[in-house]
Symmetry: C2
Subunit: 474 residues, 2 copies
């Protein structure tokens, strides 16, 4: 959300400006209802009018509350705020008509975030004195907010904590779900920082036709898969909202603090909520926002309220944290910084995210080597030509080939990946060979995950999920 | 809210029917969005249409979402749902233009509750084998929901628990604030039942320009005044929301359960919230609802989820519990029963409630005997005539006389009160004499309250506010 304070000419995206207008409208209403001084009301109205003019200038549309900016104003129907041509990206829906997937450069402009460019990647490499993670090298994490500030502070011996999460909607996690955790574990290792992981079982209860008991059980089961990623128990706290809310009045106090500073107009604009939504959904964003503030975990951080938070997450979670960053200065806390990842494509193609509810759209963490082989061979969308002859002659298209995309996520060797790309493009490498390469990458990866998960005991889960002081050196 | 299930012809008030229509509209939207079976959607739409026709029949107005039934449809402006002619009664506003105060019989019809009639009062007397409290004898508690059911069960050895509360908006409590607590203590004594008292410090933080620290401090200070009313520590749990939410995940689980079953449309209809309200206010009603369910206090009630709750409160709190009673069967809990009190009039007259923010509108629990005397003599609205001669000749009007009203609250002796009423009406008793009688009633009452409050130690407060098993025999 808008970081500038009242300067109409500052560099805002249409969505930021829209959200600023919602806020300013609320502000005017509050001042009027509180019978504030006339001068104060006049100033607020003046700013509102200026913002409206500016909005019209950059969007070509009249500002209308409850109606976020879109490419086509006629399509406005109180829907999610993130429609952009054919790409839809919000915490509950991701879809696009392009086989290459969502247009991420466009998303950066629309969300008002910054691109993770080569300079930033190089800077991270220099600071940690290691090769940056392949997810950075290959643009899987492609966008950020305030990462340079985090690094500036880190170089001045002011550290940070990591926060990420998962919505436990079923027992079955697929490889796409591992992306943020693989990357977060790497960040924890190279920066040597503490980490909190939120399991939003309350959210899943509110959104899905599930009982609280089911959602909580999924949270605990999913925690085992997360622990199997190799997190350091001395630096990691995993929590279920349904549990932790009843364990720490500091968490609830921050939730209420955030809820006081966000209006229904704002969540309507940001998340597309309607009047028919239950009040649990409407107030939930504050619960996902609260762990961004270190004071939500007094046991972990010795009651410090000023620690910087860095959130690695998929870009569809950004709306929560735009809201959080807008609220932060108003409640006296630092804004969280972010690292955004692209989506992990479904086997059927990059038009949509993997879905835990369609077993053939995903490679699950419980799949056998045989299931992996069958799924890749049968369902992975191919960028190859129809016949071997044509393929040899014209070559394949790795940009839409799901097997190749998966290899960019999981094959560590840059040179090998580049060679595959070239050979597939030239036609030297056939689709069958490419799929074989992916199968041979996934099979041992999933098998060793299963091995590590087997070793996760109930006691270990309990240890990770107990609020306690974590190792950190701030 | 509507207790009948789909029977359009059943006996609903306009407000209940309006709320049922909101619910049914939500239901249709949910079915459509979930792509339910056509037959199911059709049935839901049919019921919606029937309800709309019925609404038009009994109100003479078209049903309109966000626009509760009023005497004059043109006045609809998304305001609180409880406008009725000139009386406004909701949790944040009580006002009327009548010097006799709010028309409580009209309120019973509008809210769809039941009158506490002589039969019910006599029944209570028979069961407890004592004279019913003066608040019952004199109509201070005038309305109820399901009290006969509570008594039926009680006679069959199935007991209940009491729940009441206070919004701690300042350190200063006035005598009006004591009414529910005086009556609740009496109920606790005569029925020998456990009691939970909610201090809504989170609500006050959300609604007022106060910090959480201030609201919490007011909660603790107010708890001392409440304890001074004489509650049995072995049967009473007092809790601050800001604290208790972080002490019991059962409380949060019930809050989320309620929040899943209430839409923004409903709270808009019931409480008059608007799109500019913060999401904390919008979701707060679930927090006041949750203590109605015994499962919110597993430590107190041995994890039992089926205990009947009885809520003594002022009638302005009823909207919260209409909502609660609507949700209860849908989450598998018993509906709370209620006993509603009238409002305690301001010294200036019964047009409005006492206000803690205007020191001259109230007798505070900290007032000295001298302050009490001055306030009553100077500010208590009189029903007497302008001159002694006229008064002797025509008599005074006790129905609008605030001193007489106060005596109906605090003078125990029925015969003495009746004699005062007769003498004042005839003109035999002058306003000065009446005021003297009130002063002599209030001074010792307040002094002994102050004496008892002095004896309330921090340790005692801590004891009352610690979640623990209470004495009960269910």
């Amino acid at each position: 959300m808008a970081d500038c304070q009242g300067d109409v000419a500052c560099d805002l995206t249409p969505m930021q400006l829209y959200e600023k207008l919602n806020l300013q409208g609320d502000q005017v209403r509050v001042l009027k209802s509180e019978k504030a001084a006339k001068a104060e009301i006049d100033a607020a109205v003046q700013l509102l009018l200026k913002l409206k003019v500016h909005y019209k200038t950059i969007t070509g549309q009249e500002y209308k509350a409850g109606c976020p900016p879109t490419d086509d104003i006629s399509s406005c129907s109180n829907g999610p705020a993130t429609e952009d041509g054919d790409d839809q990206v919000d915490p509950w829906n991701v879809s696009t008509t392009s086989a290459k997937g969502v247009d991420y450069d466009k998303l950066i402009v629309r969300f008002g975030s910054s691109k993770i460019d080569q300079e930033l990647i190089d800077r991270i490499g220099r600071i940690i004195e290691q090769t940056p993670h392949r997810f950075l090298r290959r643009g899987v994490f492609f966008s950020h907010r305030d990462m340079h500030q985090v690094l500036d502070a880190y170089e001045n011996k002011k550290s940070f904590f990591l926060y990420t999460g998962r919505g436990p909607s079923s027992e079955a996690m697929h490889v796409g779900h591992l992306i943020p955790f693989i990357f977060t574990k790497w960040l924890q290792d190279v920066f040597n920082v503490p980490l909190v992981i939120q399991m939003t079982d309350d959210e899943k209860y509110l959104w899905k036709d599930l009982t609280q008991e089911q959602c909580y059980r999924f949270a605990v089961e999913n925690a085992k898969d997360i622990i199997a990623c190799g997190f350091d128990v001395n630096k990691t706290f995993i929590f279920s909202d349904l549990d932790y809310m009843g364990m720490s009045s500091s968490f609830y106090r921050n939730v209420v603090k955030i809820q006081k500073h966000v209006t229904f107009n704002q969540v309507k604009g940001i998340f597309g909520f309607t009047d028919s939504d239950c009040i649990g959904k409407i107030s939930f964003p504050a619960i996902q926002a609260a762990p961004s503030f270190s004071s939500s975990f007094p046991q972990i951080f010795n009651s410090r309220t000023d620690l910087q938070c860095l959130i690695p997450c998929a870009i569809d979670q950004d709306p929560y944290f735009r809201m959080t960053r807008d609220v932060a200065p108003r409640v006296g806390y630092p804004k969280p910084a972010l690292l955004h990842s692209t989506f992990f494509p479904a086997l059927q193609g990059a038009q949509t995210k993997m879905s835990a509810s369609d077993p053939n759209s995903s490679i699950f963490l419980t799949d056998t080597p045989k299931q992996i082989k069958t799924k890749v061979n049968k369902h992975a969308f191919s960028g190859g030509k129809d016949t071997v002859e044509e393929h040899r002659k014209y070559g394949g298209n790795p940009d839409v080939d799901v097997s190749f995309m998966y290899l960019t996520f999981f094959l560590e060797d840059d040179e090998q990946l580049e060679k595959i790309r070239q050979d597939y493009t030239s036609g030297a490498l056939l689709t069958g060979d490419l799929k074989k390469c992916l199968i041979e990458t996934l099979q041992p990866m999933i098998a060793s995950h299963q091995e590590r998960r087997k070793q996760v005991t109930d006691d270990m889960v309990k240890q990770f999920m107990t609020p306690r002081k974590l190792d950190f050196d701030f």
